[in-house]
Symmetry: C2
Subunit: 157 residues, 2 copies
């Protein structure tokens, strides 16, 4: 765990607009895990306080190639979810494949492809950086697409 | 994740005394993960507030047989560590094998053996229950033994 990315979008007239993004940086393994978790928690808490989102969408870590990394990411994910939950923000979870599929159209898309597509979809002047922030924006867009699709299905019933 | 065990010991005249133990219960998978994490966080927060411990010792989850379970446990562990960290309590981590070795004398000890040994070491009238609370007491005892050993080594230098 070194950077926890976040991205905030707002839907205005059915169009997704980027409101903010960034990375919560951690000093890495030289700092005890409990302290790093506090940094993530406070960072997400600040984002939630600043933007007061309606929903929080988060990528799951269940398909990470390295088990130990996935478990440590689970810790960070836990405190991030807690920060949203405590602010009364509903938390939604998406698989990495689902996010890639939704933004790029392929579950096997590269990180660079996701980054470029996020730039295009949100009409950003430059590539969203760090990579983790681009990923976070992609998760937010994925969530918006899911909701839109769900509402459409309900309307057609 | 269904029960998060905790156990509190106090060292009086170099003897470990049991001050409290129990389990923070969760309704299981029918409740969203973010809500379950909040229950764990608030439970540990309450324990920390009630007993004002000097240290917090926690078992690591890195050797769990099921990867997905280990990741979900990582989430719970993350919020538990956060609760201690926020209260200014130093967090120490121990491998399950290390805890078993320290209490029973064998890294491959069964849960029942750990439970029985914890009862004996802390002079409890009945077996500590739930099992997760017995495990937590074992982690606390392991931490005490480590500190004692470390202090001894320092004294001998």
């Amino acid at each position: 765990m070194s950077t926890t990315g976040y991205g905030v979008i707002e839907i205005v007239s059915r169009k997704a607009l980027c409101r903010g993004f960034g990375g919560i940086r951690n000093s890495g393994k030289s700092i005890p895990l409990a302290e790093r978790l506090q940094v993530v928690y406070e960072g997400i808490r600040e984002v939630v306080t600043t933007y007061a989102p309606e929903h929080c969408a988060i990528e799951d870590v269940f398909y990470h190639e390295n088990v130990n990394t996935a478990i440590v990411m689970g810790h960070a994910r836990g405190v991030a979810m807690l920060a949203a939950q405590q602010a009364g923000v509903a938390v939604f979870e998406y698989a990495a494949r689902e996010v890639k599929m939704s933004t790029v159209g392929s579950g096997a898309a590269s990180k660079q492809q996701v980054q470029a597509m996020v730039q295009r979809l949100l009409n950003l002047k430059t590539l969203p950086r760090p990579q983790d922030a681009a990923d976070a924006l992609a998760v937010a867009l994925c969530h918006y697409h899911r909701i839109k699709f769900r509402n459409l299905k309900t309307a057609l019933k």
